[in-house]
Symmetry: C2
Subunit: 213 residues, 2 copies
């Protein structure tokens, strides 16, 4: 107790880190158990903080959920800005690069790649409008980030009538979310990879690069 080591005491978490630790703990815990099945105590234990700290930073469990949804959006941002495929010249190559990147994430334990937003909105959309809205905003942000490349690909290569950029962006998100659900069901990511492979083939066909029967 008397020992007062330098800047980072090893015994417990640094002061000021509780809020971030709680959000990170919410991400991992809710992804594993769902929102309703995750108690505030669970999150506190995972974050290594007490309940007092929790309610110092967040007015309610719901408020944490909203903050965690916003943090998740920020966490996903580098996927569109820092990855190598985002530097490709051809917009369709950028889109396919994104799909391939999402595909490459679908390995290992299911908890490691499933979407916090999709998991949470499933059992909170009917009980908490603030959470639902936060999740809607996060999904919309993802689609908005994906849409410009799709738009450019449509401009460059054309697309069948009725296919628009926002529309296709939402479909990409839909296939991913569906893959997560099935991966949870079978406890195996292979089924999600299959589905993303179908999505990739669809996009290739849409833009005239694919092969038909």
């Amino acid at each position: 107790m008397a020992a007062r080591p330098g800047p980072a005491p090893r015994g417990r978490a640094a002061r000021g880190s509780a809020r971030a630790a709680l959000i990170a703990a919410a991400h991992t815990t809710v992804r594993r158990q769902g929102y309703a099945a995750t108690s505030v105590d669970d999150i506190c234990a995972a974050a290594g903080v007490t309940k007092g700290a929790f309610f110092h930073h967040f007015a309610s469990k719901e408020a944490l959920a909203v903050a965690a949804a916003e943090a998740w959006t920020e966490r996903a941002r580098p996927m569109f800005e820092m990855l190598p495929h985002t530097k490709l010249k051809d917009p369709l190559d950028r889109l396919l690069g994104h799909i391939d990147f999402r595909f490459s994430m679908l390995h290992g334990p299911v908890d490691g790649f499933i979407c916090f937003i999709g998991t949470m909105v499933q059992d909170a959309y009917a009980t908490s409008e603030p959470i639902r809205l936060a999740c809607e905003a996060s999904i919309a942000a993802y689609c908005d980030a994906l849409a410009p490349d799709i738009e450019a690909a449509i401009d460059a290569y054309g697309a069948p009538p009725g296919v628009t950029a926002p529309d296709l962006a939402r479909h990409v998100q839909s296939v991913l979310q569906g893959g997560f659900v099935l991966a949870k069901t079978t406890n195996d990511p292979a089924i999600a990879r299959e589905s993303v492979a179908h999505l990739r083939r669809y996009i290739l066909m849409l833009f005239g690069r694919g092969e038909t029967a």
Copy 2:
């Protein structure tokens, strides 16, 4: 299975109906709130039955969940046996008929068309292996029911290499589940209809009936 001879008492729910009422209540309540957020009392209230009756018929909440998953599978069976499109001669027409039928269901309140299985497995797959397995069996039954028509369509029209019937059946299921998640997120089925429309176009292209850019 068959109704007892003689009239049922008029005043309150017929004796012997509690089990079916509880399963039906589980379907509606879990679809709206998720599994973890649904209490045994909620289900009992929705079924118009007391807790004593609940635990007379089911050993636990988990046991009801498993029974409800099996009942859901049975409930979906007529979709493959009794609908008009199942009588079509062309297997691809039967498949498209099924897709169109699923599309036509995507109207009105979200609670009305989302999948009990997909909702429940989301927040129970990590905490209850029996529930996960029951949901896996239900999804597998759906895919098994869909696969023969796809197989026949592949035989009749051919398909790109790597596309198999079980594979594509799972993709159909995946797109549906993903559409449900996004419909919950936006509280609007339109987004799910869009996604199923993309799925339909993909299938048309796969089998050479589609148009590319």
